[in-house]
Symmetry: C2
Subunit: 506 residues, 2 copies
């Protein structure tokens, strides 16, 4: 009997692992598409992707597989929710049950709309032409609403969509946390606006030869622990990180010869994602215990290394002399103080991906509010441009000159990614909460950073987060590790500790 | 009734096309493995490949698909052997019938042995250790014999294996053609050995900065018609060409700063393969009419551009001034005559891939004879080193100092590729026969080459070869295009016309 269940468990795991291998092939094709593929290859690539995703969907919704999972869930193997078998069975069953709720026709319609949506968005963005994009948004949000209804939800439709990115988190919880965060951020941003101190950001806009940027970026990525024997760094238009296998993590960036911080911090950011992927349990590859928890947790890893470590003073105490060696002309005569202030410039801006550590979260809040209103049909797509601009004026005191700098700046909605945005802000909060706890556990980590020692933090993250896989979902994981439920407190503490001295705020 | 058959034909085509899309995914993974993948990714890549090849095999041997093909073959759609439907049905049926002849257990054993064989070969080659490799060869040849028996053959087991690379060609035909070629080549090689003229090959061993080699190589590839909008050039250890889709052809090379000709001619060679792929009919993608005929014909395209065009005097009359601009230090004071003689140096050597246009074919003959003897068990693997060295002594008057420079130099046998070698020599002969006919049809092509005009030849090849797909198999295609059955006559004519003046042979 026990032997039979064990066999059943192995069958289910084999099925899940093979599906993961197929998914990793999708990743390989996606990586190639965004880094290497000649443009003319796009049409055939779409055919390859469609064929694969059909196969993956078939495996994910396979009836026999589902029956086996249901049987296993009744068994003692699944009794202990936190045991290896318990976690894998429970999570796989959850994934299966979500997948079969969506009718195939809806999945295909969503996919088609997302493909067309991205094409339409690219064109609309290029031409600053919202009216051309409007019909697609008007199709997308009702479809997403249909998806939410098919999936079911606890309190509101947005819950169902959010679940794809941060499982089991409720919209109302996110709203509470983010509202608290906003109030604090607005206060801090106002104080900074009132300060007379301003960094000299021209420092970062000198000439930084691309090959040296790449060499310093690689050094920094290696320094924090990215393993280039199990990964690569390549160039792309929109930086991303993906894994083609458990020992094959690819990070990407883009270089601008006249901008230092863009590529450097994107490399650190993607390395942070990569460290998570490289830290997952190989023996659980393709199973929930060997997979990332959520986008929010993934983002916490990238933000932690990019911002909390990489924009911190101790990091540059170690790295700045090397940066000066790489760029003697641009940085030879620039003091560490001036450089450090420049990479921590705070100012309200129009573009999310260029925002500083403080105002970034306000960009997220705006999107979170607008996409909920659109989903609930409380806001018409036709009124979106006005609503967007009004929010920017109110929260950030800036107003886009056109929609290209406004609501057309992000790809997400065009690709049907509704419920995705809040994970960025959650990641920022999780990151601060984790680092605070790591400092409490390990002593002042900054001391090590300033001597180029990052290993203790990485090992702490491996043990606390990476090797835990999906044993707990995001908020539960944060609470388990830090001892407190997720809140904005640590993030605000971090921001005040760093920015108040820089801007002379008492 | 007609409508039903048409529908059946479309179903069969859809099935074949989807299988081709899966194969193109295999190509994408293979390209990545050999150009980009971090070494640690190898294990997972093998899993991805195994999963895909299992899926492909399943589709290729699908019973319903086979039944449909059998039904179609009886229909009027297939009545005209050379019509589009006739070609596709007949070829697909032939492929299907070959595939189902091999028991799954044998396919798996062949695959496993090939994977282990390549690992064992790499190690044995590195350590110059034939005894370590011997057990694998002793397993491979009996397995290949089993494969031949399962497939069936007309005259001898080698026929069945040859069919994978040059369909329907008989071993006895190849033997006749190659023996005739050998006699002529040995005579020509002897005459050259007797000449006192020798090129100054040191010219090609100066410093040639890699980025400029790449830039000249790209220019040359573009010049002969390789379309970089539908393709790429990357670096690898062992140059190859593959297509990830109908508009996504990837060529590769390796650079040596102190060797000009290695990378340059490998780029031309792979571009020749690429021109064939880029010239295939897109509307017939995944169907026999849109696929390359055979390895021999593929090799005819690469050899034609590499040797008959690229090592020809008219080509360099156009390109040499540009080469001098790229490498002023190395080539500024070297005359075109001296350079041209140097890239056409003829001397017997140990390594096939480094051999000149004349002796190259002798390397092939040796392998062709030895692999037939091994397959027929007329030669024991244990006696292979002696047989190899004796053949080299006799045909090329050189003897390897160790097996690494001898029978361990090629990957083919370790990978189970028996019957592959003759296609290289066939390609050389086909190429000469094609170019002779193209010259007859179009007038003196060299005149255009010397002014950088290669389009007429490419268009002639597109029409005569590329867009014909698998309408006819190799030898029949050559006969159809050139009006004569394949023979060594054109190749010998080409070689004598070029090399006799260079070496002062009357």
């Amino acid at each position: 009997m026990v032997n039979d269940t064990q066999k059943l468990y192995e069958q289910v795991c084999r099925h899940a692992r093979q599906t993961a291998v197929l998914r990793s092939i999708e990743e390989a094709l996606g990586w190639d598409e965004r880094t290497m593929m000649p443009q003319a290859g796009g049409e055939h690539r779409a055919e390859q992707m469609a064929l694969l995703s059909g196969m993956i969907h078939q495996r994910e919704t396979d009836r026999q597989y589902g029956d086996r999972l249901a049987e296993l869930a009744q068994d003692s193997l699944a009794a202990d929710e936190l045991s290896e078998t318990g976690v894998n069975i429970r999570r796989l069953k959850r994934q299966y049950e979500k997948k079969i709720k969506l009718p195939r026709s809806l999945v295909e319609e969503l996919t088609r709309t997302a493909v067309l949506g991205q094409q339409s968005w690219q064109e609309a963005r290029r031409n600053n032409d919202f009216p051309a994009f409007r019909p697609l948004l008007e199709k997308t949000f009702p479809l997403k609403r249909q998806e939410a209804e098919a999936l079911g939800y606890r309190q509101c439709p947005y819950d169902a969509l959010l679940d794809d990115y941060e499982p089991e988190l409720l919209t109302s919880t996110v709203a509470d946390v983010l509202t608290g965060l906003r109030d604090e951020l607005v206060t801090l941003a106002d104080e900074i606006r009132g300060s007379r101190r301003r960094p000299n950001v021209a420092i970062l806009k000198q000439t930084f030869p691309v090959d040296r940027q790449e060499s310093l970026g690689r050094e920094a990525a290696g320094l924090i622990g990215f393993d280039f024997n199990r990964g690569r760094l390549d160039r792309t238009a929109h930086p991303f990180c993906c894994s083609l296998g458990p020992r094959d993590c690819r990070i990407t960036t883009r270089f601008d010869e006249h901008l230092f911080d863009s590529a450097f911090f994107s490399i650190l950011h993607e390395s942070g994602h990569g460290l998570y992927d490289q830290g997952l349990r190989e023996d659980q590859y393709g199973l929930p215990l060997g997979e990332a928890v959520s986008l929010g947790i993934h983002e916490s890893q990238s933000r932690l290394w990019e911002n909390l470590v990489g924009r911190g003073r101790p990091f540059w105490e170690y790295l700045y002399p090397k940066a000066q060696q790489h760029f003697p002309q641009a940085l030879g005569d620039v003091s560490l103080d001036d450089f450090f202030f420049a990479i921590n410039d705070v100012r309200p801006s129009l573009i999310r991906v260029e925002a500083d550590e403080i105002t970034y979260n306000l960009h997220i809040l705006i999107r979170f509010e607008l996409e909920r209103a659109l989903l609930d049909d409380k806001l018409k797509v036709a009124d979106l441009p006005d609503a967007w601009n009004e929010q920017y004026r109110r929260c950030l005191a800036v107003v886009p000159s056109g929609d290209a700098d406004g609501l057309l700046q992000d790809v997400h909605w065009s690709a049907g990614l509704v419920g995705y945005f809040p994970t960025y802000a959650l990641g920022n909060m999780y990151a601060a909460q984790l680092l605070e706890k790591a400092n409490a556990d390990l002593g002042d980590l900054g001391h090590g950073f300033s001597r180029g020692t990052f290993r203790p933090l990485l090992e702490w993250l491996r043990k606390s987060i990476h090797r835990e896989g999906q044993r707990r979902f995001g908020p539960a994981l944060i609470e388990h590790v830090s001892g407190r439920s997720p809140s904005h407190a640590s993030l605000i503490e971090h921001l005040r500790t760093k920015f108040c001295p820089l801007y002379g705020i008492s």
